[in-house]
């Protein structure tokens, strides 16, 4: 199909027909938050310095190249809060109540020695006691070493430094706890899950810590004065982040569920508000019941499945794509330093998308090897090509493309790599002068590898330096929390004999889903009611 997009460079010995449409459809997205730079600040924390925003602020200001992401993050937190404010009116959204206790991974995601998990709210002390049982609360504002264990299984999770800040002398003004745990994903995710299982605790929404600090007079907005310009960019980044979290199948599922639920709720609401004054058709409630039951089944199945199967999307996605037999698999093997893909001189050896997590220049990266882009020979290879294209659509952040190509006008980050430079005769002509900026590399001899790695590092830094993305661990915890919350609420719907209570359960369930998908106003409900029913007089 991309034949018209082919461009070959006659003087290059690599004849690389690259379909430009594939490349231009690769979305530009952020993946990875903070990296080494934030670690510096955390190391203060690790040494026992009180973790205060004001402190961080001045610290980051003095380190001028560092201050931007930090402050941007504060703004993002606010933007998130306000965004939700603007979409409130959805009734019964799960409470970000000041009474609830929230927890979040406060440090960045990725390779770091220490990760900081914070809680804020009245149940903080309780949570600390439960996780560090049988020991009691440590002295206030002193770093103490404690063994954290999972309250459900009693399994030890990590030996961690814990800090107990009873309110009001804390970052948020409420009771706060900090867990400084070892930075591995397993530990972090284990502690987060353990916290989530403590009654009264829930994952924090974006910006909730800051918001609470502000509400309790701990933070003055003027402290972040001068950053107003960032906000537009930040809200945009947040939108993209939400898209990224929800792209692919899961997002599609969530939106579908939210739609079903909104409709069911609208019908129940209509039955309450108009059931007796106006005549609604028969079976409105029964229909809603059926839909809710189906939704419950779907959600339940998904949740059971999600715990096992959902791959952790941690790290930037680097997709290697290009024409067949260009040496993509060789490059992947070279980068991952292990034989991930089978290589052979035969075109079309790789027929599927192979993903492998690697560490590239200190960045966690998910490297995808794809099938060569060509009109496939057999159905299997064609499917492989289709998946390769899809993977470009959904995952690609950095496309290391092997072979000559025209990068067209696409805005995604693209690194053009020409492989098999060893085949170029030293005195002969180089690759065509009309080629865009590119790198020469030989997977066979390793020539040009250093330059390639350096270029890749720059690209990754540009992508991963973006502070707008939530750590995927937390994102996943959030998904699970809200989907589980939705499922629980649907259970309440079934049990409620009182219709007002049943409707409330649906409102709560919808609130959980719309936390993931956005939207969720009352007007949506009224629109459906007036569309579906003849009411009013």
């Amino acid at each position: 199909m991309e034949n018209e997009g082919l461009k070959t460079s006659p003087r290059c010995n690599l004849h690389c027909p690259v379909p430009s449409s594939v490349l231009s459809s690769v979305p530009y997205s952020y993946c990875q938050p903070r990296c080494a730079r934030t670690l510096k600040i955390w190391s203060h924390v690790a040494r026992g310095t009180t973790f205060r925003y004001t402190y961080l602020h001045s610290a980051s200001r003095s380190l001028s190249p560092l201050h931007q992401p930090m402050e941007a993050r504060i703004f993002r937190l606010w933007a998130g809060r306000i965004l939700r404010l603007c979409t409130r009116r959805s009734s019964g959204a799960p409470a970000p109540g000041s009474g609830a206790t929230i927890f979040a991974l406060s440090s960045g995601q990725g390779r770091c020695g220490i990760a900081v998990i914070r809680t804020s709210g009245p149940a903080s002390g309780h949570a600390l006691r439960i996780l560090t049982a049988p020991r009691d609360l440590p002295p206030a504002r002193h770093a103490s070493l404690r063994l954290l264990s999972d309250p459900r299984s009693g399994e030890p999770l990590d030996r961690a430094l814990v800090l107990w800040f009873p309110g009001p002398q804390s970052f948020t003004g409420e009771d706060c706890v900090e867990f400084h745990v070892h930075g591995g994903p397993a530990v972090v995710s284990g502690v987060l899950q353990a916290l989530g299982s403590v009654p009264g605790l829930r994952p924090a929404e974006a910006g909730e810590f800051t918001r609470r600090a502000f509400a309790n007079g701990k933070l003055n907005l003027t402290e972040v004065e001068g950053l107003a310009d960032l906000i537009h960019a930040e809200t945009e980044a947040q939108r993209r982040q939400a898209l990224r979290q929800l792209d692919g199948e899961l997002g599609h599922l969530c939106r579908g569920w939210a739609e079903t639920l909104t409709k069911a709720l609208a019908h129940v609401e209509a039955y309450i508000d108009f059931g007796e004054d106006d005549n609604l058709e028969e079976g409105v409630l029964e229909q809603a019941d059926i839909e809710v039951r189906a939704l419950e089944v779907a959600l339940g199945a998904h949740l059971r499945d999600a715990r096992r199967g959902q791959r952790l999307r941690s790290g930037a996605h680097v997709v290697v794509t290009g024409p067949p037999n260009a040496g993509k698999s060789s490059l992947v093997n070279l980068l991952s330093r292990k034989p991930v893909s089978i290589v052979s001189p035969e075109p079309g050896t790789t027929r599927d998308v192979l993903e492998t997590p690697v560490d590239l220049a200190g960045f966690p990266v998910l490297l995808s090897d794809t099938a060569g882009l060509r009109e496939g020979v057999g159905p299997v290879e064609q499917e492989g090509v289709r998946r390769a294209r899809e993977s470009c659509n959904f995952l690609a952040t950095v496309v290391a493309s092997v072979g000559a190509q025209s990068p067209s006008d696409s805005s995604q980050r693209l690194l053009l790599v020409l492989n098999k430079s060893d085949l170029l005769s030293p005195e002969g002509p180089g690759p065509g002068p009309d080629l865009p900026p590119h790198l020469l590399l030989s997977c066979l001899t390793g020539e040009g590898l250093d330059g390639f790695l350096e270029a890749l590092r720059k690209e990754l830094a540009a992508v991963c330096g973006d502070p707008s993305t939530d750590p995927p661990l937390l994102t996943r915890a959030r998904h699970q929390h809200h989907l589980q919350g939705c499922l629980d609420a649907l259970g309440h719907y079934k049990q409620s004999k009182d219709l007002a209570l049943a409707a409330e359960a649906l409102r709560v369930a919808r609130g959980h889903l719309t936390r993931l998908t956005g939207g969720g106003g009352t007007e949506e409900i009224l629109d459906i009611i007036f569309r579906d029913f003849c009411v009013g007089k």
Binding site: C86, I231, D273, E276, D498, A500
Partner: protein, 738 residues
């Protein structure tokens, strides 16, 4: 637009009891003095009467100006109060000691609680009211309210003076000029009339002005408001025809009897005046395909419907029902208009077809085959003042101390037209007169006034509530106390006012329970706990007796709940004590009495039978027992809602300065569109600003940052020079060094 007759005739009752209002008019004072009041209320409809009595209850010397005293308490077209969502409002009016709930209880002829089976949080208290009784009782009440003076008179203009520097607004209202040229001064003025109305009545292709065309002088007030820059929108609605009672064949129709016992609207009433067995039934019939056919065939004769492209999303008329939901049977409720009235109000049959077709259509309907149409239905189009021009305390942004209640939302104003229009009022009293009036209407005669109109029955209630709030706030303004604002978390009235003042309205506003975020907390049964205590402490509009009753009820409830929580038995013991309850015995943990009360089959009586001590005393008061049961039903959810409410209240606590000039402030990057929206709606809090559609999160943050900076600088400047007057000057805000 005021029809006046015998202007200047003081009709105040009970003024002999009072020392203030008319003493100033007395002839023995040295110089001729202009009368001076605390609050003037213009208009004697639902909003006007509620506003006037609320202001008087708050201790303000109040003057109610109406064109005719004998039309006070005139009900608008649909003689009913309450309904789903609207019953909540009735309870809230009553919790603030408003009139209409009490008057309804004295005049109701058919009481029914809607949604009985759907849970007490969404019960809809509703009643059909006898027009005549309601009017009589209302007049008795109004004319006997201490501190309230009623005068017949038409307002020609407002007296405007220099604004107070510490508030926003172009100018301040300090009194009114009557048509006869006399002036009355007041600290606050509440406008509840259809001054701006420009109502048009539409039947078929004919339109008639509903209002007084030839009445030049009354335009003065309208012109003043227009000159001041108030923005006006246009809405439309309609009313059904009235049918002669004796011409309906009720015997073949579905009869609906009132509830027995009746649930009164007012917290202070144990029962209603007219006994359930004496109350009147309603009847139900349905439309049929013949009705559809008549509507569809005659669309070309129906200019009102043709224009309904931008009409409300719901179906206000039978035409819109047929057009949007064809081939269906639509309900028609036949409702009595009063104990001795000969008219039946066919709810659900609002229409604007030509009169002869209306009769043709009605006779197609089962039971109405021989029905005689006494007055045809018609559509009305009218102006309304955009509610985004007022604050949540109902004071206008433009004119200080001027309050609007009525006509700020769609269907208002209408009813005022009815009350203001003499010929109409007369026509409504006597059936025979009505017939002649109807005939007059059908012949276009501009000199004759047709003002009566069909309001949704909830609308008069919405007025009534706006009236109460406006009255309270006008009075508080006089005594320089902070305004009394009900938030979304406190009552349906808070939702209503917030929706109107921050979002405006493009269709006549209807109250639905689905609009309310905290529906399970804001119930009809607990309106007194929510509002009476606040009304007493913050507004002073609640009588001592009512306050004490609410306090007693609140403390009894709290005590009762804690007692119920403290009683714990094993589930098997509960099973033995209350065998009729389906308590599962699988749980090993002890079960609280409160949890047992959650079961549908259990009420306080059965619980008290099982555990007489200490529960017996809670069954003595029926209301207390019922409310304990309701509290138990919702207990688990209420805890979570309380947390959410706290959070919303935090947002509402982030106040924006009232004097911010959004159009000109520098140093803050807001788009022009956002500036205009903020300028128009003037949100009072960050919470309200964020609910305005089109105001972006970025704008909110910018705004917050700006306000914080300004406040800090202002504080610093005040510190250095406290006499620096221009700091307070709102007009010079733009020149300020920001």
């Amino acid at each position: 637009m005021f029809y006046f007759r015998g202007c200047g005739r003081w009709v105040a009752a009970s003024f002999t009891k009072q020392q203030f209002p008319l003493a100033r008019l007395s002839s023995d004072s040295a110089a001729p003095r202009t009368p001076h009041f605390d609050v003037i209320v213009i208009g004697g409809g639902h909003a006007g009467t509620e506003a006037a009595t609320a202001a008087a209850r708050c201790g303000s010397r109040t003057l109610l100006l109406t064109h005719r005293v004998d039309t006070i308490g005139q009900m608008s077209c649909n003689p009913s109060f309450g309904g789903i969502g609207k019953g909540h409002l009735m309870r809230e009016v009553d919790a603030l000691d408003g009139l209409c709930s009490r008057i309804c209880d004295q005049s109701g002829v058919h009481y029914k609680v809607l949604n009985r089976r759907k849970g007490p949080a969404v019960w809809g208290l509703r009643a059909q009211i006898d027009r005549k009784l309601y009017k009589q009782n209302m007049q008795k009440e109004i004319l006997n309210t201490p501190l309230l003076t009623v005068q017949e008179g038409a307002v020609e203009d407002l007296i405007l003076t220099e604004p107070e520097p510490e508030h926003i607004g172009k100018c301040r209202v300090s009194g009114v000029v009557l048509v006869d040229g006399s002036t009355v001064y007041a600290e606050s003025v509440i406008l509840t009339t259809g001054t701006f109305l420009r109502g048009m009545i539409v039947i078929g292709l004919e339109t008639h002005p509903a209002g007084r065309l030839g009445d030049q002088p009354s335009i003065g007030l309208a012109q003043t408001l227009e000159k001041l820059g108030f923005v006006v929108g246009r809405l439309k609605t309609g009313t059904p025809p009235r049918i002669a009672k004796e011409s309906i064949n009720f015997s073949i129709l579905n009869k609906h009897t009132p509830d027995n016992p009746s649930i009164p609207f007012s917290f202070t009433n144990e029962t209603v005046w007219i006994k359930p067995e004496d109350q009147l039934p309603c009847y139900l019939t349905h439309t049929n395909p013949k009705v559809d056919e008549i509507v569809l065939k005659n669309l070309h004769l129906n200019s009102h419907v043709k224009e309904t492209t931008r009409g409300p999303r719901y179906c206000p008329s039978i035409e819109s029902k047929v057009l949007r939901f064809p081939n269906r049977l639509h309900q028609v409720w036949l409702e009595p208009e009063g104990m001795d009235s000969d008219l039946i109000y066919p709810q659900g049959l609002s229409m604007t077809l030509p009169a002869e077709l209306q009769e043709k259509m009605i006779t197609c309907i089962r039971g109405l085959e021989k029905a005689k149409v006494i007055q045809p239905g018609y559509g009305v189009q009218y102006d309304y003042l955009d509610p985004r021009q007022i604050t949540p305390s109902l004071e206008t942004h433009l004119v200080q101390r001027l309050f609007f209640a009525g006509q700020i939302n769609g269907t208002t104003g209408y009813e005022e037209a009815a009350a203001q229009t003499e010929s109409c009022s007369v026509a409504r009293l006597e059936c025979s007169d009505m017939i002649s009036w109807v005939q007059e209407i059908l012949l276009p005669q501009p000199s004759l006034v047709a003002g009566t109109a069909g309001m949704h029955h909830n609308t008069q209630l919405i007025f009534a509530f706006l009236g109460v709030i406006a009255g309270i706030n006008a009075s508080l303004r006089v005594s320089r106390k902070p305004p009394f604002v009900v938030s979304r978390t406190e009552g349906y009235i808070g939702v209503l006012i917030d929706d109107l003042t921050t979002l405006g309205t493009s269709e006549p506003y209807r109250m639905f329970t689905s609009r309310v975020e905290f529906r399970l907390s804001l119930r009809p049964d607990n309106a007194d706990s929510r509002l009476t205590l606040r009304g007493y402490k913050d507004a002073g509009c609640v009588s001592q007796q009512r306050y004490e009753r609410a306090c007693w009820m609140k403390s009894s409830l709290e005590e009762g709940i804690s007692v119920l929580k403290s009683i714990e038995f094993s589930s098997s013991k509960w099973k033995n004590l209350i065998p009729e309850a389906s308590i599962s015995t699988s749980r090993s943990l002890p079960v609280r009495a409160l949890d047992v009360l959650k079961y549908e089959e259990v009420d306080m009586d059965s619980l008290a039978k099982a555990v007489p001590e200490p529960l017996k005393k809670y069954t003595k008061c029926r209301e207390l027992a019922e409310r304990l049961k309701i509290e138990a039903t919702y207990e688990s959810v209420l805890f979570h809602q309380l947390q959410e409410i706290k959070e919303v209240q935090q947002d509402e606590a982030l106040q924006l300065p009232k004097d911010l000039d959004y159009l000109t402030i520098r140093d803050v990057s807001l788009s022009h569109e956002v500036r205009e929206k903020l300028h128009f709606s003037r949100p009072q809090t960050i919470g309200a600003a964020s609910r305005i559609p089109g105001v972006t999160p970025a704008a909110i943050i910018n705004l917050l940052r700006f306000v914080k900076t300004t406040q800090r600088r202002q504080a610093a400047m005040n510190e250095s020079s406290k006499t620096d007057q221009y700091l307070c000057d709102a007009d010079r805000l733009q020149e300020r060094e920001l």
